[in-house]
Amino acid sequence: MTPTPLHRTTLANGLQVLLRENHSAPVASFWIFYRVGSRNEAPGLTGISHWVEHMLFKGTELFPRGEFDKAVSRAGGSFNGMTSQDWTTYFETFPADRIELALQVESDRMANCLFDPAEAESERTVIISEREGSENSYAYLLSEEVQALAFYAHPYRHPIIGWKSDLHTMQRDDLYAHYGAWYTPNNAVAVAVGDFDTATMAAAIERYFAAIARGPEPAPMRIVEPEQLAERRVVLRGNDPTAYLTLAFRAPAATHADFFPLIVLDAVFSGAKGLGMAGGGGNARTNRLYKALVESRLAADAGSSYRPTIDPDLFSFFVTLAPEVEHTQIESVLWGEIRKMQQDGITQQELAQAIKQTRAQFAYSADSVTYQAYWLGFAEMVTGQAWLEEWPERLAAVTLDDVQRVAQHYFAPARQVVGWYVPDPDATDLLEDEGWDGDDGDDGDDENEDSAAMNEPAVGA
């Protein structure tokens, strides 16, 4: 299916607008993306973008707290907000005849959020509770340790939800200042996809958003992570009996020429993920890690991950160890697979399969206007629209030599960050007494039967 043309315009106040008609179902999705995320946060204020995102649900004069979510639900809509390293976004998806409500609420809260001090205080404990839900898992704690160890200078080192100590000390005025600095029309992109007429939608967006005053130009984020010279290791111990291992390497930004060869590499290691953000989730057993670690019974689960980001982030391996297996053994098998890739490259068949899988998985989410709008906004934040339009060709152009070259270039012992979670019955509880008072399937077959697991690249509202 050829998509209808993308209509692009910019309002006088700097708000960029992207519109695409899609009449396949009587629904429409509207998104606002802001060019701010944990990437833009200073020490002491980690997690502030995510907290501000929560505050955008806490009321304006027009929609006092609770009225926004009720109005959207009453109209048969779905909504959410998400904060990532690179951006913050809000969306509503509606039956098409109700979509104007999205324009009304998003234009209202771009400029008019109250940040009531009592509401900010009440949200502090909600966000700490959100964080504590993650802290219950040693797999999560290990991922935080590895991320923090992998970056000395760049803000990608801190978690999107923020360090708990910052969540305790941050104040309402910090939040409000962040909102004022980043929530301006000239720092935002509005995206609509669905069953509407472009001229009508463009006029409606003009009507709702044009009166919002342009803000000061946001401060650029200039920090560049220095080159990693030494291997880095972290060992986390705890009472939980399942052992985990992470092995990570710095890897380039989405716009780098090596991005697509690395996407192929990731697919050959552990199956395609539809570019790693939305979509993905096909069967994944013919890949190298599954054969080397799961079918050999060294691991219950083994995967790799690489996602498109503005600045260089990580290419990571993650393994859930089988009982009685040593971490050193897993490291040795992982390095064996890496060296094999560096010495012999991959096969033509692996390359073809990685490309077909990635394209197919991307297609699976394309019948949803919500995902289509997400991708348009995402590309505007991270890569530019050309990347989104050209990725199938750029992926198809990847050669066997490209893949071998990036394997040799990015994976080296001195550039590794290694994290172990080691079960230890004698470990003391790290988190229980830190001095804060209480006021504040198998590979996809069956694994969600008893409880749902989430592994999102962004933190939701």
Partner: protein, 422 residues
């Protein structure tokens, strides 16, 4: 903005029942070159023999690990070389199957699926690998406060009945399952009668019907009739705590046995549940526990209604120091909706949401296939979507209060918490 709401109905859904008892539903949708199939078979964890809890789940895991015409390696290559997905999973009263593929590959995927369902070979080395994976997952479950709260909650609210036992089993029961148990379970319980396959996507309805009829029409097997004992009603409130060391968040689940999907009270309960813990930001529970008290990131209610039974529950995740306060708040909200009528505005809001959100659930192939499947599984009729708004809008304030009062009885409550002591 053009918005002609025409829901799938008798004119646009193709429905065929094969002689061996399989029902096929197809809805054409050429938005993308993709076909999605979702199916259910009448075999589930309720068929697990005593001491082998988790056997139905083990069996579905083995369906994708080798069959008469597709060895394990051939199965994997066939599916992955075209970037498709084919999964099998088990739930309490059904086995699920799903296909997502490009339309050009649908015939191949149907062939693989049919052979897996009919002729699994259960290779012993793969059985051993799967058991190892399952045991690690059960070990991880014991580290997960929400999973442990759910495990003990369902056991408790169903009074130990097989409907409340965990689909993935227990460490001891999964250790006790043998390769031959899996083969025997498949031979005894898998058959065409009552199976449903719902298809949505880029395919002509007759072509989809022909593919499925060719692949599955010759399947003959007659599982024994299921004979479930009656559910024991809870007659006194039951509370238990699952102690878990080193956890900074505790999970709370509390609730009651409520209604099966086809019970006359189902829609009134659905509306009441929407008011209690869904509408807007998780309904009344979200408003009090999250927004006013700031105790939790999530505080919600949900309704889980199957063919034979249903559970109405509320859940929250909180700091251990706040656990008692959160339980009290949740119980107070349950008492409030059981004792006092909801407002006319709350009712109207819930009805507007439940009826208004339909177009969103029917947008994608996934959503369409799941909706068709649920309509057939629950015998709602092909005109169900057209009738649904009127059914929801007929629910009154009195209905809501009557069902809340009837089902949310204090003596019928199971209350389970999991986590560290404050």
């Amino acid at each position: 903005m053009s918005s002609t709401l025409s829901y799938p109905g008798p004119d646009t859904i193709t429905r065929v029942v094969l002689a061996n008892g399989i029902t096929i539903l197809v809805r054409e949708n050429h938005t993308t070159p993709v076909v999605v199939l979702e199916g259910m078979l009448d075999v589930g964890a309720v068929d697990d023999p005593s001491g082998k809890t988790g056997l139905s789940s083990f069996t579905t895991a083995m369906l994708s690990r080798g069959s008469a015409r597709y060895t394990y390696a051939h199965f994997n290559e066939t599916i992955e070389s075209v970037g498709a997905s084919l999964y099998f999973s088990s739930e309490s009263d059904a086995a699920n199957v799903g296909i997502t593929c490009l339309s050009e590959d649908f015939a191949t995927l149907v062939d693989v699926m049919a052979d897996a369902l009919r002729n699994p070979t259960v290779p012993r080395p793969l059985f051993d690998i799967v058991r190892g994976q399952k045991l690690v997952r059960l070990q991880e479950r014991e580290q997960d406060t929400s999973a442990m709260a759910a495990l003990r909650f369902y056991e408790t609210v169903y009074g130990g009945h097989v409907l409340g036992l965990p689909v993935s089993g227990y460490v001891e029961s999964v250790r006790a399952i043998t390769r031959d148990d899996v083969a025997a379970f498949h031979a005894r319980h898998y058959g065409p009668q009552g199976a449903i396959f719902a298809v949505s996507g880029d395919i002509a309805p007759q072509a989809a019907v022909d593919l499925l009829a060719n692949a599955l029409g010759g399947w003959q097997a007659t599982p024994p009739a299921r004979n479930l004992p009656a559910l024991p009603p809870l007659t006194q409130p039951t509370r238990l705590h699952v102690p878990m060391a080193g956890k900074v968040q505790s999970d709370i689940l509390l609730g009651v046995q409520a209604v099966a999907r086809n019970h006359a009270d189902f829609y009134a309960v659905r509306v009441a549940n929407t008011i209690l813990g869904v509408f807007g930001m998780m309904g009344r529970l979200g408003e009090v526990v999250r927004e006013q008290q700031g105790l939790a990131y999530y505080a919600y209610s949900s309704l889980d209604a199957g063919r034979d039974s249903g559970v109405w529950l509320a859940g929250a995740g909180v700091n251990p120091a706040d656990m008692e306060r959160a339980v009290e708040s949740m119980l107070a909200e349950i008492d409030k909706i059981a004792q006092a009528p909801v407002t006319a505005e709350e009712l109207a809001d819930a009805q507007a949401y439940l009826t208004g959100v339909l177009p969103l659930t029917l947008e994608t192939n996934d959503g369409l296939a799941a909706t068709l499947l649920s309509m057939e599984w629950n015998a709602l009729g092909l005109d169900f979507l057209a009738r649904y708004p009127a059914i929801i809008n007929a629910v009154t304030v009195d209905d809501v209060q009557r069902v809340a009062h009837t089902y949310l009885r204090p003596e019928a409550l199971a209350i389970v918490t999991a986590g560290s002591k404050a």
